[in-house]
Symmetry: D2
Subunit: 319 residues, 4 copies
């Protein structure tokens, strides 16, 4: 396996799994599970790993815990695949502080979502111009476009200006919804030579993954308890076997839909990761939702049905 | 077929399709297509029809057009299945005016979502207490719980109080998300005799339909270009064939997910209804999204794949 | 008094009062009070009147009541001062229908706020381009910029493009907050010849009125139970007596601040209008807030203090 | 002056100033100005100080800077007046960590606003029940009710339950808007013996301060560049001289209104604090608004007019 303590570039592709943060039943950060989880993700064949993302439980870590967790993940990975670290923050000064620290630890790049209250095309551009000026030209940045959570919409012309003016912008994490037309529009601008090509990885739990690959996405950056699905679908698609890719995806879709539910979805994801041996406890830090007996029985059935569907599929591996 | 110009009751079950509003290419209300669409829905076996819903294009009709459309639908149905009319409005006076008018035309009941700006349990209860006082005890009401759109959350204790105090509350349109635990909680209260049983039909494009039926939903009230799927899944589930019900649902799920996208999903739905001959034009009233060539090609492929999956399914009809 | 059944133009200035909608105690539309209210506004010297605005109780009228109310106001005014009618609507077809109807009745122009869900500079421009195309080149339009209510922000470059491309855009209703810099920026663009000059009237209950006049506003379009204050402040400012204008304003400011409270403020305004004999009842249509005994006592004291401050002021009338 | 390194209690009254965070022109934390600012606040006679509040620039500090700033303020104060520290956080674990740390440093209590996404009466109660369980019974807590920022509404019945069940809840920071009725309702419940009496300090820049004092508030907790106004108004009110209190307040009101503008208001406040010698630089950390030449000229005029009004007032000091 190639060492990749290089920095993130526009060539990035495949699956960057968004890591959960493992806790013990008492809520303490679970560092042994962190190692196990990293191993698990590597075994499933992911191409990169993203930590301290906005939507996971990273905001429930103290600053010190965040550093401890990041250090542990980076040490375990030991440069085998690139790590992206979420550094979005209300102020640019603490954003810079965190970004510098994790790059020193060996991260490949950082991910930034627009701050709350950004308005208008110029406001959006201006915010990221400040971010890039603050982080400096040598720090690769992923722009996270997730208006459902941030409340801020990324217009394509603004993205074009940012890509043109800031070479360190190497990747778009695409999870606007509806977002399929936006993805196609960006790819078309690139094909017409009107915009530098960047990597685009998709989110939203991967629920539109086959459609997004068909429209030119370079892979996925999302969390799901079955990263191997994202990996295999990507490989099949890459191998020109789009129908088989989608057949495999569709087999997982009932589960993907279930895990993509707001709030409770993360509890489902952790429970499945626990059952798969990737983490010791499905614990979510408070405040957070809990799975009840009915939810667990429902999940049992859903996983049995998934297994049955997978058994019925006849897809030769793309690898 | 039984005449059902009776009023809506807590026994309501099965599929209440949320009707689109057909327009001509120039944006005018298309009344001949309205007839055709009603026939189409009847042919697919739906148990009821809901019009002037909050999320469709009803807000783009003038008051007069709304009455014209409602009259046309009710006349065409001629009491064969019950019609529910959305009457949510910022003021109670115009809400009452519309409700009385459509009941006079033969509607079976009305649907009301909470008004903007409702806060706290007492605020929610108080709003609906006013609604029920305004509409009177003889007018059956569906409470629409759709916080993603209204921004207002329905707590279960408030629902219990409303059900207890107002017999005319006969149905919950359930589309909170995540909402599975809420559905189970309500059914449990009813089973324990702590709350009068009401009809619960589910929305959200039906994307959690099998899970919701398993948790005690009485059917679905949602829009989709394939109402026969909702009908058959319900019948299979009712016949105790839950696995076959879910197999059928899962075959449609890739399409369900696609149609459930915000905004653009309605354009997809109308395009499929047009292809199926149910309406003359897929036109959406301005302002609204448009399907581009890439979107249409994507839809072609999605429908072909759906057909292939359906051909591969071996499910004996439940009817 | 000059007849002004001419259309609204970029010359509009002074005070356009936003009319309340009078109801009887039982909630019915109060047409005799409508006449009295129109007379009251005229007596206070306002330069125009705006009805069916977004933030009043117009959304609580039925479509028919809206027409009845508009007709009554226009008949009573008989062209003595121009009337602007709010026609914002989710769909362009019903917006056009209402706009045409009120212009036929003698309105001077219409006011449109951006529709919900507009995003990005191009999205904003595109929405109003559609509005202008729908309403036609001969219908004068006021663009209402009120992001606190619409959730949609108007960037200055978009406003410039709209002003340049659509001569029928004659007025900006300015009530962004904070909005003082935006107002200055627009006036500077006009002075530099980079943008056609339009009328700018300010809202937000007039709470920044002196600052806005100093920055180039042409007057106010807002509701308040003391329209004469807005009128006199404008006249004094116009006469170059800015300090006296602000002294007068400041005397009213404690009340202005009180009336500008969300929700309850409208109840205060109607109560004062009732006490002043402008309307028969302070009734707000349900659902709406109510003044309690404490609120009324507080208001008594506030009005006494206002009277005392006014008695202490030595300002010669500007008229 | 009495040493008050005791804990915060329900007796707290007067003015708890919300401190700005001073930066150097280059954006670095300005510790010498921190000392000077603390001295300034003490000289103006405030009764307490609140730091790391949600709405200031505290979110723009790194975790380490927050601790450095808190330590500096507490050391400078040396227990002369109580300090409240804002500890709101997405997760309870880091909230506890910060709370314990600042209490160890000598804080008198902590302030907590409800987390994002709280819904329903039970949801609100449950969140704070968790907070209290996490922080323990010995840590005095201020509940911050600021729905304009948090999006979460505090119903009075929920507040009653919390006050009854958790003795460590000693203060309400009241800044709901409209909020006057809520304040009166709480005081009435206390008077009727239905609820334990807690301290209520008001926010919203103090814009409704006289009305709130009349309705039973114990003072103010807010930021403003003229804390002496809040102090004197409180003293006059306390001395039964409500009219003089309000006269003094009204003299400041034009400025209060100006400083209370969203976003830009903080820039105004820092500029005035700089002019008064309380801090060295008016710098706001990026991203943030900037005062332009027009804004500064406007501020000059506003301060001159304030001085003139104060000179004209004949109010004997209450102290």
């Amino acid at each position: 396996m190639q060492k990749s303590n290089r920095k993130l570039s526009t060539d990035a592709s495949g699956v960057y799994i968004i890591s959960v943060t493992p806790f013990l039943d008492d809520g303490a950060l679970d560092l042994p599970s962190t190692d196990r989880l990293v191993d698990f993700y590597l075994e499933q064949g992911v191409n990169g790993i993203t930590i301290l993302g906005m939507m996971g439980e990273a905001p429930k870590l103290s600053a010190e815990e965040s550093m401890t967790f990041a250090r542990r993940v980076l040490r375990r990975l030991d440069g085998r695949i690139p790590t992206i670290v979420g550094v979005s923050a209300p102020g640019l000064a603490p954003m810079r502080e965190l970004a510098v620290a994790v790059m020193d630890m060996g991260a490949a790049g950082v991910m930034v979502a627009p701050g709350a209250g950004i308005r208008s095309d110029d406001g959006y551009y201006g915010y990221f111009a400040q971010v890039f000026a603050t982080l400096g030209p040598d720090l690769p940045v992923v722009l996270q476009d997730y208006p459902q959570s941030t409340g801020v919409y990324l217009p394509v012309p603004v993205f074009s200006r940012l890509v043109t003016d800031f070479p360190q912008l190497v990747m778009l994490k695409h999870e606007d919804c509806p977002g399929l037309q936006k993805l196609s529009t960006i790819r078309k601008l690139e094909e017409q030579g009107l915009q530098r090509r960047v990597s685009i990885l998709v989110g939203n739990g991967g629920i539109y993954y086959p459609q997004e690959l068909a429209r030119g996405a370079d892979g996925a950056m999302t969390g799901i308890a079955f990263p191997e699905m994202l990996v295999k679908v990507y490989a099949l698609h890459k191998a020109g076997r789009a129908d088989e890719a989608e057949d495999l995806f569709d087999a997982y879709l009932p589960y993907v839909r279930h895990e993509q539910q707001p709030a409770i979805g993360l509890a489902v994801r952790k429970e499945v990761l626990r059952r798969r041996g990737a983490i010791a406890s499905a614990k979510l830090r408070a405040p957070g939702p809990k799975l009840e007996a009915t939810d667990l029985a429902e999940l049992d059935r859903m996983l049995e049905r998934l297994e049955r569907r997978l058994a019925g599929l006849k897809i030769r591996d793309a690898a």
